[in-house]
């Protein structure tokens, strides 16, 4: 079955506001990556975490392997943040195989 459950599937934010995306894992994951997929299909690397929290500008991500989840927080959303966001995780002993979440379609509204 699905090992990565991502929510929400869609999210609308007004410019300047923020929210969080979440991925729950049904098996023990060794690391997680977060991507933004733009309208042309390119996957842009946002974060790679084996544990803990990382921050980059208006984005912050946390990975808790013990409790089997990861989050991506977006603050002060801008129009260019619109796109589809994916988490992808690698199971312990998974030989670098990434299992992707279902994606979150983010729309930032003026």
């Amino acid at each position: 079955g699905d090992q990565v459950e991502q929510s929400p599937s869609a999210l609308s934010l007004h410019e300047g506001t923020g929210s969080a995306l979440r991925c729950n894992f049904t098996t023990t994951m060794r690391a997680v990556q977060w991507f933004q997929q733009n309208s042309r299909g390119s996957l842009i690397n946002l974060f790679y975490l084996a544990s803990g929290t990382k921050e980059n500008g208006r984005l912050k991500s946390t990975f808790n392997s013990k409790e089997s989840y990861s989050t991506l927080h977006i603050r002060d959303a801008q129009l260019e943040d619109s796109g589809t966001y994916f988490c992808a995780a690698e199971a312990t002993g998974g030989n670098n195989k990434l299992t992707f979440g279902q994606g979150t379609v983010l729309s930032v509204i003026p």
Binding site: S42, N45, E90, N96, L98, F100
Partner: protein, 115 residues
């Protein structure tokens, strides 16, 4: 920085024909390359994992006979979709990484349309 290029960016082929796509890593050594397909519904499937000087590992439902892969050096990999049909449509992405347990960097994908 680590960059991954893929070409062609998009291709259209007739049902039953084949097409080859390429993946090139720049700025790092891609000891391993993973090929994924993203369906029109946006779900991802891993096709195979390829490591230089090792056997290529195909996932269930994907075979070497249908998706032969070449990974001759640390910067280049190619995959062919043989005898393409409608169900092979999608965005084919390669994810390259340097060593085991490392961040994967993705190319922009090759979008395959089958007529």
């Amino acid at each position: 920085g680590a960059l991954v290029y893929q070409y062609p960016r998009r291709t259209i082929c007739k049902s039953g024909t084949s097409m080859r796509m390429e993946c090139q890593a720049v700025g790092f050594q891609a000891t391993s390359v993973a090929w994924y397909r993203q369906s029109p519904q946006k779900t991802f499937e891993l096709i195979a994992l390829s490591t230089v000087n090792s056997a290529i590992k195909y996932e269930q439902n994907f075979t070497q006979e249908k998706f032969p892969i070449s990974h001759p050096n640390l910067s280049f990999s190619s995959m062919t979709v043989l005898n393409a049909y409608l169900e092979d449509r999608g965005l084919y992405l390669c994810g390259a990484y340097w060593v085991n347990y490392a961040e994967q960097f993705f190319g922009p994908g090759t979008r395959l349309t089958v007529l």
